[in-house]
């Protein structure tokens, strides 16, 4: 059943496979982000209460959604690495952490910038904001653990356990606005059923959402490929790959690649 996956356990195969995917991701990200951002920031109608400042929605909501989905992806990778000890899934988990942390920070900062004019405060310790801040700290902890050990396997194990423990935070973030009274509003789009906004506001959101999805894929692929190379730097195929232009410079060609 899982036979088709087996070749990808080989770092070399995965390295070339992700290399083939990246141009597609780049093209899709460019298309969706340029259409989506122009549509969202210039042409989508302003909200009846919030006016133009509602447009930060198109940055805040995708960033917040991806901050959680990247964490989930990282947890799946960490789980596979802990149980089956795939070396590659460990590399994947460690390449995802900084990307997720960045998007969590974007969600928190854009949220604060929106909260000041709308709510009247930059920050309030309600359940949604606090649990999202904890997510940022989890990311930072995972990143710190990945870099805390000389031995990559040991680092991956420690970071993986923290990642799995932190998964408990995901449903708390998601349902915080339903379980408790919070200042943060409930879900507009990330729920079953009809989004609580009109179609002419929702379509640009979908575009920016897909745009960010592909942008994140590119960044993670880039980091993942670098991680594969640095973890396999002693292997013949990596040496061959990096030294192909028959010149004695090795480090420069690696970066150009």
């Amino acid at each position: 059943m899982w036979k088709w996956l087996h070749p990808y356990a080989n770092p070399e195969v995965t390295y070339h496979f992700t290399g083939k995917l990246m141009p597609w991701f780049s093209a899709l990200a460019a298309i969706f982000l340029s259409i989506g951002l122009v549509w969202a920031l210039a042409f989508a109608p302003a909200d009846y209460q919030q006016g133009e400042s509602f447009r930060i929605f198109y940055l805040h909501v995708p960033a917040a959604m991806f901050s959680m989905s990247i964490y989930f992806a990282m947890a799946v990778a960490a789980f596979c690495s802990l149980v089956w000890q795939f070396k590659l899934s460990d590399a994947a988990a460690s390449s995802m952490a900084p990307v997720g942390a960045t998007f969590t920070a974007i969600a928190l900062i854009t949220g604060a910038a929106w909260g000041k004019p709308m709510w009247g405060t930059w920050w309030i310790w309600d359940a949604r904001l606090t649990s999202e801040l904890i997510l940022l700290f989890l990311y930072l902890g995972v990143m710190a653990l990945h870099n805390a050990f000389e031995d990559k396997n040991l680092a991956g194990k420690a970071a993986g356990i923290l990642t799995l423990v932190g998964v408990i935070n995901l449903p708390i973030i998601k349902y915080s606005v339903e379980w408790w009274n919070t200042l943060h509003q409930g879900a507009t789009v990330s729920k079953l059923g009809k989004p609580s906004m009109t179609a002419e506001m929702f379509w640009p959101f979908l575009m920016t959402f897909l745009g960010f999805a592909f942008l994140i894929s590119i960044i993670i692929c880039l980091r993942f490929r670098t991680e594969i190379l640095s973890r396999n730097s002693m292997r013949p195929w990596v040496k061959e790959l990096l030294l192909v232009p028959t010149s004695p410079v090795s480090s420069n060609t690696a970066e150009e690649k």
Binding site: D47, Q50, D126, W179, N181, S196
Partner: protein, 163 residues
């Protein structure tokens, strides 16, 4: 699945279930404190599950909708008072709704208007003569709901109050 993998899987599953249980209990124990605010009904009757009531003189947050025609502004200061009722969807107000009066001296947020969700932070005062509750607020925040609408749509729906 070979025995070593099975063992690792069991350990991880056990850690995860145990932690989930612990976190669940902690959140359950803290649930009163995680709630950001009391609703007007909860001030009158206590919290839904636990029945815990806010004590007079306690500093609390209250969240509710500003009742239409209840906003009184002082003509020569920033003092303002308004009534809050429970949030309900679709938005509707009833004279029998339990209400709490909020008094505040300061600048209200831009989103403040009648029918708007508000979270106010202040000291709970009980008026024994009318058995009504007051909040002497030091901070008033606007709560925005999850609905976004273009202005034109709202203008065209103004005639029909339930859009």
């Amino acid at each position: 699945m070979n025995p070593r993998r099975k063992k690792r899987l069991t350990i991880i599953a056990a850690i995860f279930i145990g932690l989930g249980f612990v976190v669940g209990l902690v959140l359950y124990a803290l649930s009163q404190n995680i709630d950001l605010f009391y609703t007007p009904t909860e001030i009158h009757h206590g919290k839904k599950d636990s029945g815990i009531k806010a004590i007079e003189g306690q500093r609390i947050r209250i969240g509710g909708l500003v009742v239409p025609n209840s906003v009184h502004r002082d003509s020569d200061s920033l003092k303002v008072s308004f009534k809050l009722a429970d949030m309900s969807m679709p938005i509707s107000f009833n004279d029998n709704d339990l209400m709490v009066t909020v008094t505040y001296d300061g600048i209200l947020p831009d989103l403040f208007r009648e029918g708007q969700g508000i979270v106010a932070n202040g000291v709970l005062v009980k008026d024994d003569s009318t058995s009504g509750f007051f909040i002497d607020a030091s901070e008033v925040l606007a709560k925005h709901d999850e609905n976004y609408m273009p202005k034109e749509l709202v203008d065209s729906a103004k005639e029909k109050p339930s859009y």
